[in-house]
Assembly symmetry: C2
Homo-oligomer: 322 residues x 2
């Protein structure tokens, strides 16, 4: 499933989303304009707005409110990436230089805030306090997830349940809001709204787990970041947690967290052990399980081409290599 | 006019605002809780929530929606301070250590985002999309003002009009929203709503101009930051702009922006010239002019004790020494 074919059913509206994003982020200050272009050109697959646009077809199709919703979600997502790059002190993202590496941290903080403000402005254009509430609940979940991740960095002794909770906030929440927001804009029934929420949430879990697997098995050039970068920055993800479960008493993660001085060597050991065992396959099975739940949620919806497209997105997410 | 007597007419609701803020910012993570306490204990005079609570009495008094509005505004204000301290790389604020100095920049970015999210959540509790729109318009104005200030730092050749425009976004916007938001929650007439907006906006301008004057004439210990710190970080405020107007061809600000190496000496010269001439008095006159406009706007409102309290706040703002 290519990205182009995922976009196809909503291609026209997706172009309106791009239009809306580039309009609101146009700045009078050339420097700000350049930073915004830098951030937005390095953009990804527009999965979240596509999901919102598809979900907004289960009920009354209202493009006038749906396009601002989808644009708001993508802008919020991009704003969080800008702040994440400051938080992680990243020099590159998807192989491109980050704003904080090219400019400075202060600019990135302000740029992210500016994009958040625009995302908030766009969400208000749905004219629905319910949709705005959904948006703010996601803000809370994402900000809380980020804080938790940072505050528990290098903390040994976390388990997979804490991991699931953390990525539910950090990632799945925005996917859930993309789908549920679309349903709400369309005035879908409660049953359909819940089904779309569940689809989005489980898809988001799948997405993040695949992301965390790719951090260990992905190609550095394709990913644009070094293998094992999460572990190196003290973040435990599913593969590391499974390794720790298998070797509770003695494993390189435990040593790495206790002795950051010899980080590189211990990290290399951890990566080798994870790649060498069935841990990545087991992680994939967990991701597939969430994907299956996403697909199962769709079964509450009428069997339309739009439903099929949402299912295809789930397949794309589980198969992606970058 | 002491701060205590300003609070008096809305004291009880102000305590509910404090309660609402401390409830929403309570965190399960002890470290986050400590950072929040650090930020909130170093808090100021609660001018903005007090204005919102007073404005919310011109119409139908609805504490259930008014308290979340006031809490949201104060939380948004505090969140911007947290990010400002990262942007300005400040070690202290109001004489207290900042979060970014005690923890690190990443924590401050996340903490600010987390507080923004809570502010957004609180504003939704007004159940009014109109009030939420007001809030997002302010977000845009504040974020835009900050970006403009940063991007034009050390740019010689700005004028007072650009300065007024910048502080209107950065500061006056939130004061305007405090007053206008209160009016909207109370369902005040259009005329009263506009009067309260104008009051808030002009009061905000007064507030910032006084702030910028204090940066030159204030007591370092009381302010908790060195004299002339704005100029040192390349920000032109009213006193510097007036100095430049009087000596367009040759002045220490021009030299300072061209030669940051000898910053300290040139800054001392600029401070002396500003303190020595009638520039600070002229700046005060401009501030008083905005204060007068704020008071004039109040005349559109019925002559009540609440109106008198709003006028007293304006007097406090112009007289404050820290």
């Amino acid at each position: 499933m290519s990205v182009a074919s995922i976009h196809k059913p909503v291609q026209q509206e997706l172009e309106q989303v791009e239009q809306a994003i580039s309009e609101v982020t146009r700045s009078e200050i050339p420097e700000v304009q350049r930073m915004l272009e830098m951030v937005l050109s390095a953009s990804g697959k527009r999965l979240r707005p596509t999901i919102a646009l598809l979900a907004g077809r289960f009920g009354e199709h209202r493009p006038h409110h749906l396009v601002p919703l989808a644009a708001s979600i993508e802008l919020l997502h991009t704003a969080t990436l800008v702040h994440d790059d400051v938080i992680d002190d990243s020099d590159t993202r998807r192989g491109q230089p980050t704003v904080n590496s090219r400019y400075h941290n202060a600019s990135s903080v302000m740029l992210g805030d500016y994009m958040f403000a625009h995302a908030a402005d766009l969400i208000c254009r749905t004219e629905s306090i319910d949709v705005v509430k959904l948006f703010t609940r996601t803000l809370l979940a994402m900000a809380g997830g980020e804080l938790t991740q940072d505050m528990t960095a290098y903390e040994y002794g976390q388990d997979t349940m804490q991991y699931f909770h953390r990525i539910a906030g950090k990632t799945a929440s925005l996917f859930a809001t993309s789908a549920e927001g679309g349903a709400k804009v369309a005035g879908a029934s409660e049953e359909w709204t819940k089904a779309l929420h569940d689809y989005g949430e489980n898809l988001g879990m799948t997405f993040q787990i695949v992301d965390d697997i790719l951090d260990f098995e992905g190609d550095e050039t394709e990913l644009g970041k070094p293998t094992g970068s999460d572990l190196m920055s003290g973040t435990l993800t599913l593969p590391s947690l499974l390794l720790m479960e298998r070797h509770p008493d003695d494993n390189p993660v435990k040593k790495l967290f206790a002795d950051k001085q010899n980080g590189k060597e211990l990290l290399a050991q951890a990566i080798l052990m994870i790649q060498d065992t069935s841990i990545l396959e087991e992680s994939h099975a967990v991701a597939r399980d969430f994907r299956d739940r996403a697909i199962a949620a769709l079964e509450q919806l009428p069997d339309t081409a739009n439903r099929a497209s949402l299912a295809e997105i789930a397949d794309h997410v589980i198969q992606r290599r970058s």
